[in-house]
Protein backbone atom coordinates (compact mmCIF):
# COMPACT_ATOMS: atom_id res chain seq x y z
CA UNK A 1 0.00 0.00 0.00
CA UNK A 2 2.70 2.47 1.07
CA UNK A 3 5.00 1.38 -1.78
CA UNK A 4 2.02 1.70 -4.14
CA UNK A 5 1.45 5.30 -3.02
CA UNK A 6 5.11 6.11 -3.61
CA UNK A 7 5.02 4.52 -7.05
CA UNK A 8 1.79 6.33 -7.95
CA UNK A 9 3.33 9.70 -7.03
CA UNK A 10 6.50 8.90 -8.97
CA UNK A 11 4.45 7.64 -11.94
CA UNK A 12 2.31 10.80 -11.90
CA UNK A 13 5.47 12.90 -11.83
CA UNK A 14 6.93 10.79 -14.63
CA UNK A 15 3.84 11.37 -16.79
CA UNK A 16 3.89 15.12 -16.09
CA UNK A 17 7.60 15.33 -16.87
CA UNK A 18 7.34 13.28 -20.06
CA UNK A 19 4.25 15.10 -21.39
CA UNK A 20 5.74 18.46 -20.47
CA UNK A 21 9.00 17.65 -22.21
CA UNK A 22 7.28 16.29 -25.34
CA UNK A 23 5.03 19.33 -25.64
CA UNK A 24 7.53 22.00 -24.64
CA UNK A 25 5.76 22.84 -21.37
CA UNK A 26 7.08 22.83 -17.83
CA UNK A 27 5.58 20.09 -15.71
CA UNK A 28 3.89 22.58 -13.39
CA UNK A 29 0.76 22.93 -15.45
CA UNK A 30 0.17 19.18 -14.88
CA UNK A 31 1.56 18.64 -11.39
CA UNK A 32 -0.79 20.98 -9.53
CA UNK A 33 -3.96 19.31 -10.97
CA UNK A 34 -2.38 15.87 -10.49
CA UNK A 35 -1.77 16.48 -6.80
CA UNK A 36 -4.96 18.39 -6.00
CA UNK A 37 -7.43 16.34 -8.06
CA UNK A 38 -5.58 13.00 -8.03
CA UNK A 39 -4.21 12.90 -4.49
CA UNK A 40 -6.34 15.43 -2.59
CA UNK A 41 -3.36 17.62 -1.70
CA UNK A 42 -4.36 21.17 -0.65
CA UNK A 43 -3.85 23.65 -3.48
CA UNK A 44 -1.14 25.73 -1.81
CA UNK A 45 0.90 22.65 -0.86
CA UNK A 46 0.58 21.40 -4.44
CA UNK A 47 1.94 24.73 -5.69
CA UNK A 48 4.97 24.45 -3.36
CA UNK A 49 5.71 20.91 -4.59
CA UNK A 50 5.18 21.93 -8.20
CA UNK A 51 7.72 24.75 -7.83
CA UNK A 52 10.32 22.20 -6.72
CA UNK A 53 9.54 19.99 -9.74
CA UNK A 54 9.70 22.99 -12.06
CA UNK A 55 13.18 23.84 -10.73
CA UNK A 56 14.36 20.26 -11.31
CA UNK A 57 13.20 20.20 -14.95
CA UNK A 58 14.48 23.72 -15.60
CA UNK A 59 17.95 23.02 -14.16
CA UNK A 60 18.25 19.75 -16.07
CA UNK A 61 17.17 21.26 -19.40
CA UNK A 62 18.94 24.62 -18.98
CA UNK A 63 22.31 22.91 -18.62
CA UNK A 64 21.80 21.23 -21.99
CA UNK A 65 20.59 24.47 -23.63
CA UNK A 66 23.70 26.29 -22.36
CA UNK A 67 26.01 23.58 -23.64
CA UNK A 68 24.37 23.91 -27.05
CA UNK A 69 24.61 27.74 -26.81
CA UNK A 70 20.88 28.07 -27.43
CA UNK A 71 20.02 29.98 -24.24
CA UNK A 72 21.04 33.64 -23.91
CA UNK A 73 22.48 33.81 -20.39
CA UNK A 74 22.86 37.61 -20.50
CA UNK A 75 19.26 38.23 -21.55
CA UNK A 76 18.17 35.77 -18.87
CA UNK A 77 20.15 37.65 -16.21
CA UNK A 78 18.45 40.92 -17.15
CA UNK A 79 14.91 39.56 -17.09
CA UNK A 80 15.50 37.44 -13.99
CA UNK A 81 15.68 40.55 -11.83
CA UNK A 82 12.01 41.10 -12.68
CA UNK A 83 10.78 37.49 -12.69
CA UNK A 84 12.42 36.95 -9.29
CA UNK A 85 10.85 40.14 -7.91
CA UNK A 86 7.45 39.04 -9.24
CA UNK A 87 7.98 35.59 -7.73
CA UNK A 88 8.83 37.08 -4.34
CA UNK A 89 5.66 39.21 -4.39
CA UNK A 90 3.57 36.31 -5.69
CA UNK A 91 4.95 33.96 -3.04
CA UNK A 92 3.82 36.35 -0.32
CA UNK A 93 0.42 37.05 -1.90
CA UNK A 94 -0.23 33.31 -2.40
CA UNK A 95 -0.48 32.78 1.35
CA UNK A 96 -2.99 35.61 1.70
CA UNK A 97 -5.37 34.51 -1.08
CA UNK A 98 -8.15 31.94 -0.50
CA UNK A 99 -7.44 28.59 -2.19
CA UNK A 100 -10.64 28.92 -4.24
CA UNK A 101 -9.28 32.09 -5.85
CA UNK A 102 -6.02 30.30 -6.70
CA UNK A 103 -7.97 27.35 -8.14
CA UNK A 104 -10.02 29.78 -10.25
CA UNK A 105 -6.86 31.45 -11.55
CA UNK A 106 -5.42 28.04 -12.36
CA UNK A 107 -8.56 27.10 -14.30
CA UNK A 108 -8.12 30.25 -16.42
CA UNK A 109 -4.44 29.40 -16.99
CA UNK A 110 -5.30 25.84 -18.07
CA UNK A 111 -7.96 27.08 -20.49
CA UNK A 112 -5.54 29.64 -21.92
CA UNK A 113 -2.80 27.02 -22.29
CA UNK A 114 -5.22 24.69 -24.12
CA UNK A 115 -6.23 27.53 -26.44
CA UNK A 116 -2.56 28.48 -27.07
CA UNK A 117 -1.65 24.88 -27.90
CA UNK A 118 -4.51 24.59 -30.39
CA UNK A 119 -3.43 27.84 -31.99
CA UNK A 120 0.22 26.77 -32.07
CA UNK A 121 -0.83 23.56 -33.82
CA UNK A 122 -2.59 25.57 -36.51
CA UNK A 123 0.41 27.91 -36.94
CA UNK A 124 2.80 24.96 -37.28
CA UNK A 125 0.50 23.33 -39.84
CA UNK A 126 0.51 26.50 -41.98
CA UNK A 127 3.41 27.27 -44.36
CA UNK A 128 6.01 29.66 -42.97
CA UNK A 129 5.22 33.25 -43.88
CA UNK A 130 7.59 35.49 -41.97
CA UNK A 131 11.06 35.23 -40.54
CA UNK A 132 11.87 36.02 -36.93
CA UNK A 133 12.06 39.74 -36.44
CA UNK A 134 15.66 40.86 -36.47
CA UNK A 135 16.60 44.39 -35.62
CA UNK A 136 19.67 46.05 -36.98
CA UNK A 137 22.28 46.99 -34.38
CA UNK A 138 21.79 50.57 -33.32
CA UNK A 139 18.16 50.71 -34.38
CA UNK A 140 16.64 49.39 -31.15
CA UNK A 141 13.72 51.28 -29.73
CA UNK A 142 14.53 52.92 -26.44
CA UNK A 143 16.48 50.50 -24.30
CA UNK A 144 16.93 51.58 -20.68
CA UNK A 145 19.07 54.63 -20.60
CA UNK A 146 21.55 55.62 -23.24
CA UNK A 147 25.04 55.31 -21.87
CA UNK A 148 26.45 57.38 -24.73
CA UNK A 149 28.40 56.61 -27.83
CA UNK A 150 31.53 55.44 -26.01
CA UNK A 151 29.88 52.53 -24.20
CA UNK A 152 27.62 49.68 -25.21
CA UNK A 153 23.91 49.92 -24.47
CA UNK A 154 22.33 47.12 -22.46
CA UNK A 155 20.54 45.88 -25.58
CA UNK A 156 23.90 45.55 -27.34
CA UNK A 157 25.34 43.73 -24.36
CA UNK A 158 22.59 41.08 -24.38
CA UNK A 159 22.33 40.77 -28.17
CA UNK A 160 22.85 37.37 -29.78
CA UNK A 161 23.83 36.24 -33.26
CA UNK A 162 21.40 37.87 -35.70
CA UNK A 163 19.14 39.57 -33.16
CA UNK A 164 19.16 42.43 -30.70
CA UNK A 165 16.43 42.38 -28.01
CA UNK A 166 14.18 45.45 -28.14
CA UNK A 167 11.48 46.92 -25.87
CA UNK A 168 13.34 46.03 -22.69
CA UNK A 169 10.83 47.99 -20.61
CA UNK A 170 7.94 45.86 -21.86
CA UNK A 171 10.07 42.77 -21.32
CA UNK A 172 10.70 43.82 -17.72
CA UNK A 173 7.01 44.44 -17.02
CA UNK A 174 5.96 41.14 -18.59
CA UNK A 175 8.64 39.28 -16.68
CA UNK A 176 7.35 40.72 -13.41
CA UNK A 177 3.90 39.34 -14.26
CA UNK A 178 5.36 35.96 -15.29
CA UNK A 179 7.17 35.72 -11.95
CA UNK A 180 3.95 36.42 -10.02
CA UNK A 181 2.08 33.83 -12.08
CA UNK A 182 4.79 31.27 -11.35
CA UNK A 183 4.67 31.85 -7.60
CA UNK A 184 0.88 31.92 -7.34
CA UNK A 185 0.18 28.85 -9.44
CA UNK A 186 3.39 26.78 -9.25
CA UNK A 187 4.14 26.92 -12.96
CA UNK A 188 7.26 27.94 -14.84
CA UNK A 189 5.63 30.89 -16.56
CA UNK A 190 7.02 29.98 -19.97
CA UNK A 191 3.58 30.52 -21.44
CA UNK A 192 4.11 34.24 -20.76
CA UNK A 193 7.88 34.54 -21.16
CA UNK A 194 8.30 32.78 -24.49
CA UNK A 195 5.74 34.93 -26.41
CA UNK A 196 7.02 38.00 -24.56
CA UNK A 197 10.62 37.47 -25.66
CA UNK A 198 9.74 36.24 -29.14
CA UNK A 199 6.89 38.51 -30.21
CA UNK A 200 7.53 41.64 -28.12
CA UNK A 201 11.32 41.66 -27.77
CA UNK A 202 12.18 40.15 -31.16
CA UNK A 203 14.19 37.20 -29.83
CA UNK A 204 14.21 34.09 -32.07
CA UNK A 205 11.75 31.46 -30.86
CA UNK A 206 14.35 28.80 -30.09
CA UNK A 207 16.44 31.25 -28.05
CA UNK A 208 13.31 32.54 -26.28
CA UNK A 209 12.29 28.99 -25.32
CA UNK A 210 15.76 28.06 -24.06
CA UNK A 211 16.25 31.34 -22.19
CA UNK A 212 12.80 31.06 -20.61
CA UNK A 213 13.76 27.59 -19.41
CA UNK A 214 16.99 28.94 -17.94
CA UNK A 215 15.10 31.70 -16.11
CA UNK A 216 12.42 29.38 -14.71
CA UNK A 217 14.80 27.86 -12.15
CA UNK A 218 15.70 31.18 -10.54
CA UNK A 219 12.13 32.47 -10.74
CA UNK A 220 10.73 29.36 -9.08
CA UNK A 221 13.58 29.36 -6.53
CA UNK A 222 12.67 32.88 -5.37
CA UNK A 223 9.13 31.79 -4.51
CA UNK A 224 10.06 28.24 -3.43
CA UNK A 225 12.26 29.84 -0.75
CA UNK A 226 9.17 31.57 0.65
CA UNK A 227 7.17 28.30 0.56
CA UNK A 228 10.05 26.35 2.13
CA UNK A 229 10.66 28.80 4.95
CA UNK A 230 6.92 28.99 5.70
CA UNK A 231 6.56 25.19 5.82
CA UNK A 232 4.54 25.11 2.61
CA UNK A 233 6.40 22.23 0.95
CA UNK A 234 5.57 18.63 1.92
CA UNK A 235 8.90 16.78 1.56
CA UNK A 236 7.22 13.34 1.61
CA UNK A 237 5.21 14.08 -1.54
CA UNK A 238 7.78 16.37 -3.16
CA UNK A 239 10.52 13.69 -3.09
CA UNK A 240 8.96 10.93 -5.22
CA UNK A 241 7.10 13.39 -7.44
CA UNK A 242 10.28 15.35 -8.30
CA UNK A 243 12.22 12.14 -8.99
CA UNK A 244 9.42 11.01 -11.31
CA UNK A 245 9.33 14.37 -13.08
CA UNK A 246 13.10 14.26 -13.64
CA UNK A 247 12.96 10.74 -15.12
CA UNK A 248 9.92 11.61 -17.23
CA UNK A 249 11.56 14.74 -18.64
CA UNK A 250 14.64 12.71 -19.61
CA UNK A 251 12.56 10.07 -21.39
CA UNK A 252 10.29 12.70 -23.00
CA UNK A 253 13.22 14.62 -24.45
CA UNK A 254 14.53 11.40 -26.06
CA UNK A 255 11.12 10.42 -27.46
CA UNK A 256 10.32 13.89 -28.81
CA UNK A 257 11.79 13.27 -32.24
CA UNK A 258 10.06 9.87 -32.64
CA UNK A 259 6.48 10.73 -31.68
CA UNK A 260 3.84 12.56 -33.72
CA UNK A 261 3.38 15.47 -31.35
CA UNK A 262 0.27 16.73 -33.23
CA UNK A 263 -1.86 13.82 -32.00
CA UNK A 264 -0.35 14.08 -28.55
CA UNK A 265 -1.14 17.78 -28.49
CA UNK A 266 -4.81 17.25 -29.33
CA UNK A 267 -5.06 14.63 -26.60
CA UNK A 268 -3.34 16.99 -24.22
CA UNK A 269 -5.69 19.87 -25.07
CA UNK A 270 -8.59 17.60 -24.13
CA UNK A 271 -6.93 16.73 -20.80
CA UNK A 272 -6.26 20.41 -20.10
CA UNK A 273 -9.88 21.38 -20.89
CA UNK A 274 -11.20 18.65 -18.59
CA UNK A 275 -8.82 19.67 -15.81
CA UNK A 276 -9.76 23.33 -16.27
CA UNK A 277 -13.41 22.38 -15.77
CA UNK A 278 -12.55 20.46 -12.57
CA UNK A 279 -10.52 23.37 -11.25
CA UNK A 280 -13.32 25.78 -12.08
CA UNK A 281 -15.78 23.57 -10.17
CA UNK A 282 -13.37 23.55 -7.23
CA UNK A 283 -13.12 27.33 -7.38
CA UNK A 284 -16.90 27.60 -7.36
CA UNK A 285 -17.03 25.33 -4.33
Amino acid sequence: MIVGQLLLLAAGGFGAGAFGSLLGLGGGILIVPLLTVGFGVPFREAVGISLVCVIVTSSAAAGVYLQRHTANLRLGMVLEVFTATGALLGGLVAFALPERVLAGLFAVLLAWTAFSMLRRGRVEAAPPSAADPVEEPGAASAPWGDPGPASQSLADEIAGPGYRPRRLGAGAGGSLGAGMLSALLGVGGGIVKVPLMHLVMGVPLMVATATSNLMIGVTAAASAVVYLVRGGIDPYIAGPTAVGVFAGALVGSRLASRIDVRILRLLFVGVLALTAAQMALRALG
Binding site: M1, I2, V3, Q5, L6, L9, A10, F39, V52, I55, V56, S58, S59, A60, A62, G63, L66, Q67, H69, A71, L73, R74, M77, V78, E80, V81, A84, T85, A87, L88, G91, L92, F95, L154, E157, G217, V218, A220, A221, A222, S223, A224, V225, V226, Y227, L228, V229, R230, G231, I233, D234, P235, Y236, I237, A238, G239, P240, A242, V243, F246
Partner: protein
Protein backbone atom coordinates in the same frame (compact mmCIF):
# COMPACT_ATOMS: atom_id res chain seq x y z
CA UNK B 1 31.27 33.70 -22.85
CA UNK B 2 31.46 30.07 -23.90
CA UNK B 3 33.49 29.15 -20.83
CA UNK B 4 30.90 30.85 -18.62
CA UNK B 5 28.12 28.87 -20.31
CA UNK B 6 30.08 25.62 -19.90
CA UNK B 7 30.83 26.27 -16.23
CA UNK B 8 27.21 27.09 -15.47
CA UNK B 9 25.95 24.08 -17.42
CA UNK B 10 28.20 21.91 -15.24
CA UNK B 11 26.86 23.49 -12.02
CA UNK B 12 23.29 22.87 -13.15
CA UNK B 13 23.97 19.27 -14.17
CA UNK B 14 25.81 18.36 -10.95
CA UNK B 15 23.29 20.18 -8.72
CA UNK B 16 20.29 18.54 -10.37
CA UNK B 17 21.76 15.04 -10.18
CA UNK B 18 22.75 15.49 -6.54
CA UNK B 19 19.28 16.81 -5.66
CA UNK B 20 17.45 13.99 -7.47
CA UNK B 21 19.74 11.39 -5.86
CA UNK B 22 19.04 12.77 -2.37
CA UNK B 23 15.29 12.89 -3.02
CA UNK B 24 15.34 9.31 -4.35
CA UNK B 25 17.27 8.04 -1.30
CA UNK B 26 14.90 9.89 1.04
CA UNK B 27 11.85 8.46 -0.73
CA UNK B 28 13.18 4.88 -0.54
CA UNK B 29 14.09 5.25 3.14
CA UNK B 30 10.64 6.69 3.80
CA UNK B 31 8.72 3.67 2.50
CA UNK B 32 11.34 1.26 3.89
CA UNK B 33 10.57 2.73 7.31
CA UNK B 34 6.84 2.15 6.80
CA UNK B 35 5.80 5.81 6.45
CA UNK B 36 3.30 6.76 3.76
CA UNK B 37 4.36 9.61 1.47
CA UNK B 38 0.77 10.81 1.80
CA UNK B 39 0.99 11.06 5.61
CA UNK B 40 -0.73 14.28 6.69
CA UNK B 41 2.15 15.45 8.90
CA UNK B 42 5.83 15.68 8.21
CA UNK B 43 8.82 16.71 10.37
CA UNK B 44 9.65 20.40 10.00
CA UNK B 45 12.90 21.55 8.45
CA UNK B 46 15.52 21.97 11.19
CA UNK B 47 18.87 22.91 9.63
CA UNK B 48 20.72 22.48 12.95
CA UNK B 49 19.80 18.80 13.28
CA UNK B 50 20.19 17.97 9.59
CA UNK B 51 23.77 16.53 9.77
CA UNK B 52 22.93 14.23 12.69
CA UNK B 53 19.66 13.14 11.05
CA UNK B 54 21.51 12.34 7.84
CA UNK B 55 23.98 10.16 9.72
CA UNK B 56 21.02 8.43 11.40
CA UNK B 57 19.56 7.78 7.90
CA UNK B 58 16.39 9.72 8.69
CA UNK B 59 14.36 9.88 5.45
CA UNK B 60 13.10 13.41 6.11
CA UNK B 61 16.70 14.65 6.41
CA UNK B 62 17.55 13.34 2.92
CA UNK B 63 14.33 14.79 1.52
CA UNK B 64 14.93 18.22 3.11
CA UNK B 65 18.54 18.28 1.93
CA UNK B 66 17.38 17.26 -1.55
CA UNK B 67 14.88 20.12 -1.57
CA UNK B 68 17.52 22.58 -0.36
CA UNK B 69 19.97 21.46 -3.06
CA UNK B 70 17.19 21.69 -5.67
CA UNK B 71 16.39 25.29 -4.72
CA UNK B 72 20.05 26.23 -4.24
CA UNK B 73 21.13 24.99 -7.68
CA UNK B 74 19.69 27.86 -9.77
CA UNK B 75 20.76 30.32 -7.06
CA UNK B 76 24.30 28.98 -7.31
CA UNK B 77 24.01 29.46 -11.06
CA UNK B 78 23.30 33.17 -10.48
CA UNK B 79 26.26 33.43 -8.07
CA UNK B 80 28.57 31.82 -10.65
CA UNK B 81 27.25 34.02 -13.48
CA UNK B 82 27.62 37.16 -11.39
CA UNK B 83 31.18 36.25 -10.42
CA UNK B 84 32.10 35.40 -14.01
CA UNK B 85 30.61 38.59 -15.43
CA UNK B 86 32.34 40.62 -12.70
CA UNK B 87 35.71 39.04 -13.52
CA UNK B 88 35.15 39.68 -17.21
CA UNK B 89 34.59 43.38 -16.46
CA UNK B 90 30.92 43.27 -17.44
CA UNK B 91 29.90 45.34 -14.45
CA UNK B 92 26.32 46.00 -15.56
CA UNK B 93 25.47 42.30 -15.86
CA UNK B 94 27.30 41.57 -12.60
CA UNK B 95 25.21 44.26 -10.88
CA UNK B 96 22.03 42.66 -12.24
CA UNK B 97 23.17 39.31 -10.82
CA UNK B 98 23.70 40.94 -7.42
CA UNK B 99 20.18 42.40 -7.69
CA UNK B 100 18.73 38.90 -8.28
CA UNK B 101 20.61 37.59 -5.24
CA UNK B 102 19.28 40.47 -3.14
CA UNK B 103 15.71 39.62 -4.22
CA UNK B 104 16.26 35.97 -3.21
CA UNK B 105 17.72 37.07 0.14
CA UNK B 106 14.65 39.26 0.63
CA UNK B 107 12.47 36.22 -0.10
CA UNK B 108 14.16 34.34 2.76
CA UNK B 109 13.72 37.31 5.12
CA UNK B 110 10.11 37.85 4.04
CA UNK B 111 9.32 34.14 4.42
CA UNK B 112 10.83 34.06 7.92
CA UNK B 113 9.05 37.26 8.93
CA UNK B 114 5.69 36.08 7.61
CA UNK B 115 6.05 32.50 8.83
Amino acid sequence: MNSIDARIARILAVGTRAAVALLAIGSILLVAGGTSPLAPDWPPLDPASLPADLLALQPAAFLWLGLIVTIATPILRVVASTWSFGRAGESRLAALGVAVLIVIALAVVAGLAAG
